[in-house]
């Protein structure tokens, strides 16, 4: 039987969900027997190919996030939102209470200690969206694993269900939003 292909990425997140993923510890070896990693910080593959499962950490805060997320959606049969930021914007979305223009102006133009006032416009830098959005507002998401980060147990429960072709179901104990 061929192995399941998994891709992971972190958009507007802190990689904390990836760290929690690592906390499944020796079960990573179990996972390696049934799955290969495609694009992921764990594999260093930069371009996503056709995958079975995509795990997305973080919300959508800029144009690049949108493009990466869309590439994941195009390539993954099943797309999973992992963690609070992917699900509701999380901590980065705390900026949504402020106007983006005001933030950029204060940071780069008018704020204390600004020299050479200019909003950085290098084409390498992705353009920011007015608001940080949960990923389900941008592409269709199949499953959600909440938590900040989700516990290794929750990730493992969901992932083992998915790799064996089942619907992930988190028990009361495994669902946490903090």
């Amino acid at each position: 039987m061929s192995k399941v292909k998994i891709a992971t990425c972190s958009l507007a997140g802190c990689f904390g969900c990836h760290m929690s993923f690592m906390d499944i510890d020796e079960r990573l070896l179990e996972l390696a027997e049934v799955a290969d990693f495609d694009r992921s910080p764990l594999s260093d593959i930069r371009q996503i190919g056709s995958c079975d499962i995509g795990l997305v950490e973080g919300g959508v805060c800029n144009a690049e996030n949108v493009e990466v997320l869309r590439a994941f959606r195009r390539n993954c049969r099943i797309l999973v939102a992992v963690g609070a930021c992917a699900i509701n914007g999380g901590i980065p979305a705390l900026r949504n209470r402020y106007d983006l223009g005001d933030c950029l102006e204060e940071a780069f133009l008018t704020g204390l200690g600004v020299t050479d006032p200019k909003v950085p416009g290098d084409p390498e830098l992705p353009l920011l969206l007015d608001k940080v959005h949960p990923i389900h507002e941008v592409v269709k998401i199949d499953y959600f694993i909440p938590g900040c980060p989700p516990s290794a147990e929750a990730i493992w429960t969901a992932l083992s269900a998915l790799t064996s072709g089942n619907i992930p179901q988190l028990s009361h104990q495994r669902i946490r939003y903090d």
Binding site: A84, N88, I91, L94, P134, H136, H172, I175, Y177, D178
Partner: protein, 245 residues
């Protein structure tokens, strides 16, 4: 004694009781957020929606009557309550990781109870004011769910500190003081109004992490278990007193 059927089980009630009171007193949980055993029922959160003889009703305000057929535990109603809970999450700014009420919050616990893993709807990200002017109590409107428990509690205490203003999606919690600030109001930390908030909108300062995470109210128990442990005795006591009078 008159009785009704809740999901096929007979619930004996005392005349005057609502469906919710009778059910909880009998040890059967019906989800609710805006109801509190010590305050007048309100019927606004709609989490306690049940079918009474086929019709949707709020169990917290609907009077129990002999022979009613009440359905609460259906998949259809779980789905409805899930959507209502998600609505409450997306209309406000509920970021559990940065909220000190996490683990003690009824909205969060309701989400856990209903198996909610996401907000489902687009988030509104409203801009609401925070009021930190009171020395002992913080008002974070981002987390307000308009249950009016604080409003009712403060009314019962004769202080009328809180009130809802605005309309529709612009409804907001306001404070009774000339400046509109909590620090200039009559609220005291020991008031029920300062302690009754089911979420993290009104929290006591300097108490945030006295109960460490892992030992909080809903860390190991469901909202149903906590309700039956803590609220059911209050309802029973209330109706016993009422009978003596």
């Amino acid at each position: 004694m008159p009785s009704f059927a809740l999901d096929g089980q007979e619930i004996v009630f005392k005349p005057g009781q609502t469906i919710l009171e009778a059910s909880i007193a009998a040890g059967h949980y019906i989800p609710h957020l805006c109801w509190h055993p010590k305050l007048s029922p309100h019927g606004s959160c709609k989490l306690c929606t049940v079918q009474v003889n086929g019709r949707l009703c709020s169990a917290c305000t609907f009077p129990a009557a002999d022979g009613q057929e009440v359905i609460s535990a259906s998949e259809e109603l779980r789905q409805l309550r899930l959507r209502l809970t998600q609505m409450l999450f997306v209309e406000g700014n509920h970021f559990c990781p940065s909220c000190e009420a996490s683990g003690q919050c009824e909205l969060q616990a309701m989400g856990y109870y209903l198996g909610m893993t996401d907000g489902h709807f687009p988030h509104f990200f409203p801009r609401r004011e925070i009021d930190a002017s009171h020395p002992e109590v913080l008002l974070d409107r981002d987390r307000c769910i308009f249950c009016e428990l604080c409003v009712r509690a403060s009314r019962a205490e004769g202080k009328n500190v809180f009130e809802l203003a605005g309309r529709g999606i612009h409804t907001r919690l306001v404070v009774n003081s000339p400046s509109g600030r909590l620090g200039d109001s009559a609220l005291q930390a020991q008031d029920l109004a300062a302690r009754v908030c089911p979420v993290g909108a009104i929290v006591l300062k300097e108490t945030a992490f006295r109960v460490p995470i892992g030992r909080r109210r809903y860390d190991h128990k469901t909202i149903a278990e906590v309700s039956l442990e803590q609220e059911a005795p209050l309802v029973r006591a209330h109706w016993q007193e009422a009978n003596h009078e």
